[in-house]
């Protein structure tokens, strides 16, 4: 008898879909051409359910769940869009903007930023929460790259790509709440890191202007992430 993963049937926005039992709502939605907005998620990295932009409604469950880390179940009825979800998603974006200093007009990533794009998609013309204007540093100690904490949304894509794909684990999270920030090695200047290989993967998976290449000025930083699925595939191939 062949034992493979079992198939579950469910509906997403009233559309009947079939999924392997180990698949998440997000994966199966995307396979079926249903868009769920995400920010911390990146195909090829372990999902963490951090940003909460992918919240969806599941019938029978009072609270919305994060689609990127919720496995499918038989008979699930998923809704990816509702006034409540829009309100939550907008609030997530507002809080991200208010907790750091995002000055799009003078940002290297202006015009090529996932946060900025989502703000426009959700019609965020202003914040309803007060800006915090916290004081944050810029680490320009690395010969090729710059880290600007003012633009970081703590998505940990850099942490994950460095650990899971490059295998260096230079990045980590330090501190809690609004004080949390990304660090390199033992909280030391990036340029002095002994583990960083200088591959630049973190820079390119970073959804905002927090990580950029040196020499790039306002509007000049564009990220290319095509490398990720290939590296992931090659790695899986080697492991089999």
């Amino acid at each position: 008898m062949i034992t493979g993963p079992r198939i579950k049937t469910l509906t997403i926005d009233d559309k009947p879909v079939g999924a392997r039992e180990d698949e998440t709502i997000l994966t199966i939605a995307r396979e079926n051409g249903i868009r769920i907005p995400t920010l911390c998620h990146l195909e090829g990295l372990t999902p963490i359910g951090g940003c909460r932009l992918c919240l969806v409604e599941v019938k029978g469950i009072a609270r919305p769940v994060a689609a990127c880390v919720t496995s499918v179940q038989e008979g699930m009825e998923v809704t990816t869009d509702s006034p409540r979800l829009t309100q939550y998603r907008r609030m997530v974006l507002e809080l991200l903007f208010s907790e750091r200093n995002h000055v799009c007009s003078v940002c290297v990533s202006n015009g090529g930023c996932d946060l900025q794009d989502l703000a426009q998609e959700f019609g965020l013309t202003h914040l309803t929460v007060p800006y915090q204007y916290p004081r944050h540093k810029v680490d320009a100690s690395h010969p090729w790259f710059t880290l600007d904490h003012n633009r970081c949304i703590l998505c940990t894509r850099c942490v994950r790509v460095c650990d899971e794909i490059e295998g260096a684990h230079t990045w980590d999270l330090f501190g809690r709440g609004m004080q949390a920030r990304v660090i390199t090695d033992l909280n030391q200047p990036w340029g002095s890191s002994q583990t960083c290989t200088g591959c630049g993967k973190c820079v390119h998976v970073c959804p905002t202007g927090a990580l950029s290449e040196k020499g790039k000025s306002v509007r000049e930083m564009r990220k290319s992430r095509e490398f990720l699925p290939y590296l992931r595939l090659m790695r899986q191939g080697r492991q089999v």
């Binding site: 200093n101 000055v103 799009c104 007009s105 965020l124 013309t125 202003h126 800006y131 204007y133 004081r135």
Partner: protein
């Protein structure tokens, strides 16, 4: 037909939003069939008039004078449009916000100056507030058009709609930093 009474105000911004306003070119002439500019850096009125239908604000609230002005404006205006990122987010002028005013004065008038270091702008010019902040954190704002500066097309659409008494959805026409 009475023309719609429009005012524009330049607070803590670089005047780029007003430049973008002028970028409407000949459409400005078409607009003046419907509207009358009663107060603006572009006209000569000294006092903010009463009974203004629509006021367009460029720039954030950065000084005691800005604060006084915006309160007067709100009290005498039916519809307030926050135009551009400085009015809406603080933007570039708000980059001073992570430093206390005393530190900024020290940097600008002592460390970066090679004469008269003891002279600070404390007389005549309005005192700075601790932070440069968005307009809507002080008074109610009715419509927002982000951008640095917002494109002339978006401003034209916003003014056309608002002067007809409609409050349009503007988020798709521009974005932060555009």
């Amino acid at each position: 037909m009475n023309k719609v009474r429009v005012a524009t105000l330049w607070l803590d911004g670089c005047s780029g939003c007003h430049m973008s306003l002028l970028d409407m070119d000949e459409r400005l002439i078409a607009l003046t069939e419907k509207i009358e500019i009663v107060y603006s850096p572009l006209v000569d009125t000294k006092e903010f008039p009463q009974g203004v239908d629509l006021t367009v604000i460029e720039g954030g609230i950065s000084s005691e004078e800005d604060l006084e002005k915006i309160r007067t404006v709100r009290a005498n205006t039916k519809v307030l449009l926050a135009l551009g990122d400085c009015a809406i987010t603080g933007n570039v002028p708000a980059m001073r916000n992570t430093f206390p005013v005393s530190e900024i004065f020290k940097r600008v008038y002592e460390e970066n100056s090679d004469f008269n270091q003891e002279v600070k702008p404390v007389l005549v010019v309005p005192a700075l507030l601790p932070k440069s902040r968005p307009v809507h954190e002080f008074v109610a704002v009715d419509a927002y058009l982000p951008g640095c500066p917002p494109p002339a097309d978006a401003i034209f659409f916003a003014l056309s709609e608002l002067s007809e008494g409609r409050v349009p959805e503007l988020g798709s026409l521009s974005r932060f930093g555009r």
